[in-house]
């Protein structure tokens, strides 16, 4: 297969970037999108040009490192996958493909397609945990957790922290990412003790990092590779209101 690629190149966040046109030939349809970039890079290097910087690691959809905006969709046109799980058989031979980084004020560009997502770590630092010191836990089966609750918790614990939700939101909101963690803990008995502070602190940090507010367009959930549900956001808002009232009264 052949493609006409337009790839975002930007040496650092101090200089402006632009699209570079690259025409690629002889791509196998069983190649993944990232393997195609590998091939382009190999050619660039052998021509003594600078390869395209892009983030990736596990290449199986679980580490959350890969982060490409492909033809304007976070992780590409297919539902429920990450960029590394996208295969060239999904594209039309000869088509034009735009490749950009995930863009948001809170995700500064490091180089080409690589962005800085450390804001996500700081949101987790604000409350993305249950405070239990090593050695102090009760025996594991002390508190039964209804299977259904455990499954609900699991479904939002699946978030891989990729940032697609932010990139596809017109307000660059990190609500889905933040809510996923809050929802996970709110379904479990172990998560109850710190419920109030968790939601207040995490939401506050999210705002401080420069992510926008949620206006319920739902674009985040559509682009989320783990299909984290919008219900998590509603729950976060409910919890936040309760917590806010609790704190102020």
């Amino acid at each position: 297969m052949n493609f006409n690629l337009k790839i975002w190149r930007q040496k650092s966040n101090k200089v402006p970037g632009s699209f570079q046109s690259l025409f690629v030939k002889d791509i196998s349809e069983d190649m993944s999108f990232l393997e195609m970039l590998d091939k382009i890079n190999e050619d660039l290097i052998l021509k003594k040009e600078e390869p395209i910087a892009f983030d990736h690691d596990c290449r199986e959809g679980i580490c959350g490192t890969c982060s490409l905006m492909i033809n304007g969709s976070a992780h590409g046109p297919q539902k429920a996958i990450t960029s590394c799980q996208l295969y060239m058989r999904e594209f039309q031979n000869g088509s034009e493909i735009y490749v950009e980084p995930f863009r948001a004020k809170a995700f500064p560009i490091i180089r080409d397609l690589i962005i800085d997502r450390s804001a996500f770590d700081r949101i987790q630092q604000a409350g993305g945990f249950i405070s239990v010191n090593t050695g102090s836990a009760p025996p594991a089966n002390t508190i039964p957790v209804p299977k259904e609750k455990a499954n609900q918790a699991f479904s939002s614990a699946l978030c891989i922290g990729c940032g697609a939700c932010v990139a596809s939101c017109k307000n660059s909101s990190a609500s889905l990412f933040t809510a996923a963690r809050i929802f996970h803990f709110s379904k479990l008995p172990q998560g109850q003790a710190e419920k109030t502070n968790r939601v207040l602190n995490m939401v506050k940090q999210m705002e401080k990092e420069g992510f926008g507010a949620c206006s319920h367009t739902g674009a985040c959930s559509v682009s989320c590779p783990k299909e984290i549900s919008l219900e998590t956001i509603s729950e976060m808002h409910r919890e936040w209101r309760k917590a806010f009232l609790n704190k102020t009264t």
Binding site: M31, R59, E60, C63, D121, P144, G191
Partner: protein, 638 residues
């Protein structure tokens, strides 16, 4: 060959059951108010590093954590699918510390330390308690209690799991605990920092040199102790189930400063991975071992059979694992399952003449229903379908073995200290508990045991006895200069091959000669080929770009240069071990039934390799393994 060193593997005397208690009681303690004075560097924050950093942070040590990733949550532990073992005996099927100990020692083909493995089994229950308290959403039964499944090498169910994402959930738990300490100020986090050098004097670690992978700047930090938890080196083979950035660099640089490297040729080849399909493929994808709970492995009984699976009638299918190993069946340990798959393919029974065998779920779907199977393995089935285009609910999966895990690693004593004082090694990066073959669901257990329940005590013991860390500027300067020179050498490479091209060649050599089957002749060939390839690298590679900016090719080049040196040591290790054990199958040493033939008289030892300087050859030290509690037998899964 000096044996004296290993008088100091520091295993406490006395009965097996009491050793760990005895060690803990003998450990010196650090007064809580003094802990802040100690600078601890933790390199790597996968399960092992993150759990250690969180636990030591809770104790108020002064900690710096370094990872090459943009967040600790991306460590390769995130990809572990199947589960984590523990001796809870919730299924009431007769599990106990002793049984997990025995299964692990036997699974490792009697090439691990009894004392370490016993301790691992002892703390395994605490891990599950702690992880549940952290809110990890393990699978539960309808009563709301924790569920278990079976893994290879065991005849009972002791594996805890969170669907097919156990590693992710455990890592996010440890990551959360680590983030909590960052917030408390006990841990400082340095993401995108790669350790390039160890600062030592008189065999004692004083600090380390890192490269900031965004600015390219070198930075060094002093330390009272350094904990290395940088994962395994399976990527030496280029194609493996490891993440693309997994590497041996931190361990290797420590090895070059004197840390012994143990059993480097003990590499686990996992039986159930998606077979390689195209040139240019960048990695292989694991299909979790848990699938062997319900999937049946088979090939056609007819050589060169080109029929698709549905045209092969039941009577012409060879469920070869069930046939050869009636009591363990599809759940034999990994080394055994991998080797048998290779034998089937080599004999001409591969799926449509490819390097693949079937893993079939049709019987399980018939018996338990589609919903049940989907609930257990849904994400794996989806992953398979996405990659191959085939639907495993309808046609059997095709699988083949792939490089997966490294039992070898830096040598450590019972306290997890390497042969360099003050340098501790945790998780997959050390060689400790799995002998010549790791059982499924035991790596997560070991990483978390090391980090949550062993290092917090053994490190205190070291610090209490080594209260001062002196800072000598000249040592730091020298180490930084070394790293700078190494980077400049790499950047001056302007040949005609990419680093990946050379890495692929190394991978081919290792896969062919140091893979599932090894022999003297092949190993000697590999030795020569790797030497030549290393010269080729330093002449012909091309490394683009500059030093003081994000430069992924430069990062790769440093790592591949280290793999090229490690490859040579792997070959030496495999050559000198003139027996077969676990993953290490030398064709010269096999039983009439083609099983691994151990030589306990001459090889019941850990091979620990020392490199005194780049010009000298490696020196082999042997740590004799004493078995006082188990009888050495031929591993029998029939």
């Amino acid at each position: 060959m000096s044996l004296s060193f290993f008088n100091s593997s520091h295993i406490p005397s006395g009965p097996l059951e009491e050793k760990w208690d005895k060690a803990k009681f003998s450990y010196k303690l650090v007064n809580p108010s003094n802990r802040k004075k100690f600078d601890i560097l933790i390199v790597g924050a996968g399960l092992a590093g993150a759990s250690a950093a969180a636990s030591l942070g809770e104790m108020n040590y002064n900690i710096k954590v370094f990872v090459i990733h943009d967040s600790p949550r991306r460590a390769h532990s995130i990809a572990a699918q199947g589960g984590i073992n523990s001796t809870k005996n919730y299924k009431n099927d007769g599990d106990s510390v002793k049984r997990l100990f025995y299964d692990t020692i036997k699974g490792g083909d009697f090439r691990a330390r009894e004392a370490n493995v016993y301790r691992l089994a002892q703390v395994s229950g605490l891990i599950i308690d702690h992880c549940v308290a952290q809110g990890i959403p393990f699978a539960r039964d309808y009563g709301g209690l924790l569920d278990n499944r079976s893994f290879g090498g065991a005849q009972l169910s002791r594996t805890f799991y969170a669907r097919g994402q156990t590693g992710q959930q455990l890592l996010l738990g440890a990551y959360g605990a680590l983030m909590r300490q960052v917030k408390r100020g006990t841990v400082q986090l340095f993401t995108q920092h790669e350790m390039l050098n160890l600062i030592i004097e008189k065999q004692k670690a004083h600090g380390a040199v890192f490269r900031d992978l965004i600015t390219g700047k070198l930075k060094s930090f002093k330390a009272s102790a350094i904990l290395l938890a940088t994962g395994g080196y399976g990527n030496a083979f280029y194609l493996s189930t490891n993440a693309m950035n997994s590497n041996v660099t931190a361990s290797w640089r420590c090895h070059k400063k004197g840390a012994f490297f143990a059993n480097p040729s003990f590499v686990q080849i996992h039986p159930t991975c998606i077979p390689k399909s195209i040139e240019g493929q960048s990695k292989l994808t694991l299909m979790s071992e848990s699938l062997r709970n319900d999937g049946r492995v088979w090939t056609s009984k007819i050589k060169g059979d080109s029929r698709p699976s549905h045209q092969i009638p039941e009577s012409e299918r060879d469920y070869y694992l069930e046939r050869i190993y009636p009591s363990f069946g599809n759940l034999v340990p990994r080394d055994v399952a991998s080797r048998q798959a290779k034998f089937q393919v080599d004999k001409g029974y591969g799926v449509q003449n490819k390097e693949a065998v079937y893993l079939d779920f049709s019987d399980a779907i018939k018996k338990n229903g589609l919903k049940n199977i989907a609930e257990k393995y849904g994400n794996l089935f989806n992953m398979y379908q996405r990659i191959t285009g085939d639907d495993p609910y309808k046609t059997p999966m095709q699988i083949y073995p792939a490089v997966h895990y490294t039992m070898g690693g830096l040598w450590v004593d019972y306290n997890l200290q390497s042969s360099i004082q003050g340098l501790f090694v945790l998780g997959e990066a050390n060689f400790s508990d799995h002998g010549a073959n790791r059982l499924g669901a035991s790596a997560l257990m070991q990483g978390l045991a090391d980090g949550y329940f062993i290092i917090p005590y053994s490190l205190g013991n070291f610090l209490a006895q080594n209260p001062d860390s002196d800072f000598k500027e000249s040592l730091f300067k020298q180490a930084e200069e070394e790293s700078k020179e190494n980077l400049q050498n790499l950047l001056s490479l302007k040949g005609s091959q990419t680093v990946d091209q050379i890495h692929k060649k190394l991978g081919k050599i290792l896969w062919e000669h140091v893979g599932m089957i090894r022999d003297k002749e092949g190993l000697m060939k590999a030795e020569k080929k790797i030497k030549t390839l290393r010269e080729e690298f330093w002449k012909e590679a091309f490394v683009p770009g500059e030093a003081f900016i994000k430069n992924q090719e430069l990062e790769k080049a440093g790592r591949v240069a280290d793999f090229l040196e490690l490859g040579e040591l792997m070959v030496q290790d495999a050559l000198t071990r003139e027996e077969s054990c676990g993953c290490h199958f030398r064709t010269e040493y096999q039983t009439p039934e083609k099983e691994a033939l151990r030589n306990d008289k001459d090889f019941s030892h850990v091979s620990a390799w020392e490199k005194k300087s780049s010009k000298e050859n490696w020196i082999l030290h042997k740590e004799t393994l004493k078995f006082e509690n188990v009888k050495l037998t031929e591993r029998n899964y029939k």
